[in-house]
C-alpha cells in the first residue's frame, strides 16, 4: 500500500468508528458530535479522491451548518433534560437487515470489474465551474430553485406552528 491508500484507510477507519458511535450511543449530544467527526473524516477522503472543493464544501455545509442546525434543534427540544437520550430499538432486527444490505453492496462492488481511475484534470476547479455553467447548467439552476422551495417550506412549518 502506498501513502495515499494508508491515509485513505485511516480516514475510513475514523469515519466508520464515528458513524458506529453516532448510531449506537444513547446520548443525543454525543451522537451529533460523533457525526461531526465522521463528516470531517469523510472530508479527508474527498480530498484524497482529488475532490478538494467538495471536501471544503463538506466542512462548510455539514460541520459548520448541518451539525450546528442539529445542535440547535437538540437544544430547542431538550426542555428539562440534562442529557437528552435516545434509545436504540430492535437492534437485532436492524443489525440483520443492515448486514444484508451491506453484504449485498459489498458483493456488487467486489464482483464488478471497475475501470482504472483516469488522470485527475489539470484544472479541476475550472472544470467544475465550467461544468456548472455548461453541461450541468440545469442542475445548477434547479438547486437554486430547491433551496428557495426549502426556505419557503421550512419557514412555513416554523411560522405555522407559532400561531
Amino acid at each position: 500500500m502506498d501513502t495515499q491508500e494508508v491515509l485513505f484507510v485511516a480516514f475510513g477507519g475514523v469515519a466508520v468508528l464515528g458513524a458506529l458511535y453516532a448510531v449506537a450511543t444513547r446520548s443525543l449530544l454525543r451522537a451529533i458530535v460523533a457525526l461531526g467527526a465522521f463528516l470531517t473524516a469523510i472530508a479527508g477522503e474527498f480530498y484524497l479522491l482529488a475532490a478538494d472543493f467538495i471536501a471544503v464544501v463538506q466542512i462548510f455545509v455539514y460541520v459548520g451548518g448541518i451539525v450546528v442546525l442539529m445542535l440547535f434543534a437538540l437544544m430547542l427540544s431538550a426542555s428539562g433534560k440534562r442529557h437528552p437520550l435516545a434509545a436504540v430499538d430492535r437492534p437485532a432486527l436492524g443489525a440483520v437487515l443492515a448486514y444484508a444490505v451491506g453484504a449485498g453492496l459489498l458483493w456488487a462492488t467486489w464482483s464488478t470489474e471497475l475501470p482504472a481511475a483516469g488522470p485527475d484534470p489539470a484544472d479541476a476547479l475550472g472544470s467544475l465551474g465550467r461544468a456548472l455553467l455548461g453541461a450541468q447548467l440545469w442542475p445548477f439552476e434547479l438547486i437554486g430553485l430547491i433551496l428557495l422551495a426549502s426556505v419557503i417550506a421550512a419557514l412555513s412549518i416554523v411560522r405555522g406552528e407559532r400561531q
Partner: protein, 122 residues
C-alpha cells in the same frame, strides 16, 4: 497544480496534529502542577452569587432557529457561487446571465424570508 492533493492532506494533518497536541499536552502537564481543591460551592453554576434560578434546559427563542435555518440555505447558495466565480471572467455574457438567474433565485429566497419576518429579532 494537480497531483498535490496527497501532500496537501499530509501537510494539513501535520499542522492539525501540532495545533491539537500543544494545548492538550499543556493542559495535561499543568494539570499535574496546578492546585485541585474541589468544593461543593465552587462547583455550583455561577449566577451572580444567587442559587441557580432556573435550569438552562428550556425552550428558547425560536428566532435563533430561524436564523440557523435561513443561514444554511444561503450558505449552500454562496458555495455554488464560489464554484462558478473563478471561471466567470471567461464565461461571456451567457455565463453572466446564467449566474444572474441563480442570484435572482437567491434574492427571491431572501425576499421571502424578509416578508415572512424571519430576519428580525423578536
Amino acid at each position: 497544480m494537480s497531483g498535490t492533493y496527497l501532500s496537501d492532506v499530509v501537510f494539513l494533518l501535520g499542522f492539525a496534529l501540532a495545533v491539537v497536541v500543544i494545548p492538550v499536552v499543556t493542559l495535561l502537564v499543568f494539570g499535574l502542577l496546578r492546585p485541585h481543591n474541589p468544593e461543593a460551592l465552587k462547583a455550583e453554576a455561577y449566577e451572580s452569587g444567587m442559587p441557580q434560578a432556573s435550569i438552562p434546559r428550556r425552550p428558547f427563542h425560536m428566532a435563533y432557529y430561524n436564523f440557523a435555518l435561513v443561514f444554511i440555505v444561503f450558505e449552500v447558495e454562496t458555495l455554488l457561487l464560489f464554484a462558478v466565480a473563478p471561471v466567470l471572467k471567461d464565461a461571456g455574457w451567457l455565463g453572466l446571465g446564467e449566474v444572474a438567474a441563480f442570484v435572482a433565485l437567491v434574492a427571491l429566497s431572501l425576499a421571502y424570508a424578509w416578508r415572512k419576518g424571519a430576519l428580525v429579532w423578536r
